[in-house]
């Protein structure tokens, strides 16, 4: 079974994000880049499916600038068989729909039985791609997946999706799109051998033209990024405890209107 895993490279969760001078992007200098954590669940699940079935191919895909190669290399170190890098300045301003069109084009070329996404990227938290790609392909899509089992004949899948207080179990025919939720699995750390082997695996570079698409101007563009206003300083109520408690209750009731 061939499984395609689209991944996004995002700033490390510990990054102190600063808005860039043009107020349309974040300051990228000094950022440590990582694979979006939900995408790691996706890679892990793809590897487990392959291992369980005893055969198959896991292909990691990413759209983005040169730095994205590093994230793809990490997927290869985890055990993905090869990678595809859609690397074209024409995609510099891509919105989710443009990205979805590019990924759908890759999926059409590769013809996998399964595409596993993370449920959202942790940088812009859009969560739109799995549905958009599925729509473009005419495939079913299952979001927030906590568990899955593929039928022995590889024709269908049962997948459990987290809902308030329980699990909703769906059945879908393959090919289909899955979007991984935290809890699906515990991603592995690459082994040293995996890291050494990653160098020998292929990362294929693709341009828009190779996919037979010409990116259109984005329909969605960032107008402005604003930092959150600094939190107003707190207030310390001092003095006699009885007085202070009375003042605290008054302030909570009359000023904050919290009680």
């Amino acid at each position: 079974m061939k499984i395609l895993v689209p991944i996004k490279q995002v700033p490390d969760t510990a990054t102190q994000v600063r808005v860039a001078a043009d107020a349309r992007a974040i300051e990228s200098a000094g950022i440590t880049w990582i694979i979006s954590p939900y995408d790691e669940f996706a890679v892990e699940e793809a590897l487990r499916i392959k291992e369980k079935r005893g055969q198959g191919e896991v292909v990691a895909v990413s759209l983005g600038p040169d730095r994205v190669k590093e994230a793809l290399r990490s997927c290869l170190a985890m055990g993905a068989d090869r990678a595809i890098h859609v690397n074209d300045p024409a995609f510099a301003d891509a919105d989710t729909l443009t990205t979805a069109r590019a990924l759908a084009a890759v999926i059409k070329q590769e013809a996998p039985q399964l595409a596993i996404f993370g449920r959202q990227a942790i940088d812009d938290d859009m969560g739109a791609l799995p549905a958009q790609v599925a729509e473009l392909l005419g495939w079913p899509s299952l979001y927030w997946i906590m568990e899955e089992a593929i039928a022995a004949d590889g024709a269908s899948i049962r997948a459990g999706r987290q809902v308030e207080g329980g699990l909703e179990v769906f059945e879908a025919s393959l090919p289909c799109v899955l979007a991984a939720q935290k809890g699906l699995n515990e991603p592995r750390y690459p082994t040293l051998k995996g890291i050494m082997g990653a160098k020998k695996k292929e990362i294929k570079d693709l341009k828009a033209a190779d996919l037979g698409i010409a990116p259109e101007p984005p329909q969605l563009s960032v107008a402005r990024l604003e930092s959150l206003p600094p939190r107003p300083p707190g207030r310390v109520i001092g003095g006699d405890v009885h007085e202070a408690v009375r003042e605290l209750v008054r302030a909570l009731r009359e000023e904050a209107k919290a009680i």
Binding site: E70, Y189, P190, L192, K193, I195, M196, K199
Partner: protein, 387 residues
């Protein structure tokens, strides 16, 4: 000149850091408090194949160099593990090197695979009560009886001896000749036979998690086939441990310094005294900046030494210099960190005091600062020997 890591080294750095950072500062605090060997940590690295880093590929390892091992040890220390985490791992990096470089095919075949998997736990027996800085004074004797040596003597400061399965052991096989004091020493790769070796733990200032011991060897039998390299040339083979060990401990000191500095810088930004973050006072900021600069400079000489070693070039001056400047830079960074945290710097739960206690070791071992300066005076500057 190229200061960039290769793509593969960069991936090693990133993944080693991720694995090491999976073990929290509280994990290490607990290990230190309970004086418990960090098996979970060692097993995680064993499972990932990291322990076989420098073991050649034909023996199941990855055949990487001292440079890559240094990258790994730096990340372990920068993650806050300190020597508690680095020592168990570096025992898979420098003690096996003489075996890898000078061992017979038979000896390598018998042991290297089991080192790479972590099945073998090594101890390193060089220092003795009467042979510390002056290794030529080793008194432990090995006598050949037929096809086996019988070893008698004592060693001190043996890390790992509580659980070691094997020991890399230096012993005299010929009397000390003052004209050639380092001849007549032989290096053994021996089973840690507990019926012939008694172990006594030494309580110490730091790194309680990883034991240090005195060992008493009484009639340990070692097959002649377990001599590493040539009998009588053991000290020269051992140099393939000693120089890498200096490079490793140096880069570890840098990593430990960075871990402490990171916490101190964070604290200096957050701690408000006299209505301002303490880091706004230059008396607080400058020592932190100074510590950073010294760590950077020390790190650079570590990479140079590793680069030379991996290319088979002489690296004694650089490995020793790295140890000298990194031990100082690492200790100063930890000391500045303790000072920056004020009273809390002295409290265990703020983590930096453990790093301070642990990094102190590297001014003493594996070679003291004074002995490095002796080496540089004599061997590099050509000054007359004073002792």
């Amino acid at each position: 000149m190229d200061f960039a890591l290769t793509e593969q080294q960069e991936l090693i750095r990133k993944e080693a850091a991720a694995l090491a950072r999976g073990f929290s500062l509280d994990y290490w605090l607990e290990k230190d408090r309970k004086a418990e060997y960090p098996w979970e940590f060692v097993k995680a690295f064993a499972a990932g194949g990291w322990l076989g880093m420098i073991v050649p590929e034909e023996y199941g390892g990855s055949g990487l160099g001292v440079t890559e091992a240094s990258i790994l040890l730096h990340e372990i220390c920068a993650a806050g593990a300190g020597t508690s985490g680095a020592s168990p791992i570096h025992f898979y990096m420098f003690p096996p090197l003489p075996l890898i470089k000078h061992g017979s095919a038979d000896l390598k075949g018998r042991y290297l695979r089991r080192i790479a998997t972590g099945e073998i736990v090594l101890s390193f027996g060089v220092t003795e009560p009467n042979a510390g800085s002056d290794t030529s004074r080793v008194e432990t004797r090995a006598e050949l009886h037929g096809d086996r040596y019988v070893i008698q003597g004592r060693k001190v400061w043996n890390t790992n001896a509580q659980e070691a399965t094997h020991i890399v052991l230096l012993a005299r096989t010929a009397p000390r000749d003052p004209a050639a004091p380092f001849r007549g020493l032989t290096l053994f790769f021996a089973d840690f036979d507990r019926s012939k070796i008694t172990v006594r733990e030494i309580e110490k200032l730091g790194r309680a998690a990883v034991d240090s011991n005195e060992i008493f060897i009484d009639g340990l039998e070692v097959p002649a086939g377990n001599v590493v390299g040539e009998p009588g040339s053991g000290f020269y083979h051992l140099l393939d441990s000693l120089n890498p060990e200096r490079i490793f401990t140096a880069i570890e000191a840098v990593g430990i310094g960075r871990a402490a500095l990171d916490r101190a810088v964070q604290y200096a930004k957050e701690r408000i005294v006299f209505d301002r973050p303490i880091g706004r006072n230059q008396a607080v900021a400058h020592p932190l900046a100074q510590a950073w600069a010294r760590l950077e400079a020390a790190e650079a000489i570590c990479w140079k030494a590793a680069w030379l070693y991996d290319r088979g070039r002489p690296c004694g001056a650089e490995a020793n210099t790295a140890k000298l400047v990194a031990a100082d830079a690492g200790f100063e960074a930890c000391d500045v960190a303790v000072q920056t945290l004020g009273g809390y710097g002295y409290a265990r739960e703020f983590y930096v005091e453990r790093l301070w206690r642990e990094v102190r070791l590297y001014k003493i071992a594996p070679i003291s600062q004074q002995m490095v300066l002796n080496y540089l005076s004599e061997r590099v500057l050509g000054l007359p020997r004073s002792y």
